[in-house]
Symmetry: C2
């Protein structure tokens, strides 16, 4: 199976943001760009049978190492809001990507860890993921990237 769907999606003509306040333009551009990057990323993931949320879980769990993470900790680290972590993990467990074990000392807690298979899968995606990131940002210098990151973090810090 080569590439998937044809993917037209010219969506969101940049020009349409004229005539509004700067804050409004900024808001629209952040949301639109975020959606574009997310879509690109999910497009890249499709051949692996993953969605963005599942990839995110794999990435976070790989970062967490052998200790794994409990459901709520995992949920709080997600890139996007994810109220229904349980069933997302259910699906990933069924797919053999993660394993869950209830803790002995606090039996309310369930620790989720990457399986070997999950680990191998995300490792195999790394190269594609890096390529995808570079593609979108290739026109920006390191200074510009720093500026962009700083500005976005300032926005995130507002309440």
């Amino acid at each position: 199976m080569a590439q998937t769907s044809p993917r037209p999606r010219p969506r969101g003509r940049t020009a349409r943001t004229a005539g509004n306040s700067l804050q409004h333009q900024a808001q629209l551009n952040v949301i639109r760009t975020g959606a574009m990057l997310q879509d690109d990323f999910e497009q890249m993931l499709a051949p692996y049978g993953l969605g963005g949320a599942q990839f995110n879980v794999l990435r976070i769990l790989r970062g967490a190492g052998a200790d794994g993470l409990c459901r709520n900790e995992l949920r709080d680290r997600m890139l996007t809001r994810m109220p229904d972590m349980t069933r997302l993990l259910d699906r990933m467990e069924r797919a053999g990507l993660v394993a869950r074990t209830r803790k002995d000392d606090d039996r309310r807690m369930v620790t989720t860890r990457l399986t070997r298979e999950g680990r191998q899968l995300i490792d195999s995606i790394d190269a594609d993921a890096a390529r995808e990131q570079k593609r979108r940002f290739r026109s920006l210098s390191d200074t510009q990237l720093h500026t962009l990151i700083d500005l976005l973090q300032a926005v995130q810090r507002q309440s």
Copy 2:
């Protein structure tokens, strides 16, 4: 009905982006910030019984004026990808916010227009929407806003 849900969502500790390439950090921050803004916005819209997509349709149709727009034109102007425009418009039509009429000269085309009720609804939201935009971006100067917008548009232009 006052405010709705408690909304904890501390999600996405900014610090977690260390140790990766600048492009990666930029990608994560754009996606995360976009999701935050979208969530905020939908939070604000909830009391009006609208979701982000529906608000977006109202906004676009208001801009289009009395001529309205056909389904595909509308879809292409959406801020986020929306493959299932038909049923979104179905719901909005059922709610009395939009009206659809098939064109006489090309009977394939269906024009969607705002109803008076839809128009009044989006007008009544304007003040809240503007407040929400300002809140998130208040810490940025006009120059910084311009810079942010320019950088994001450069990202959007990459294929």
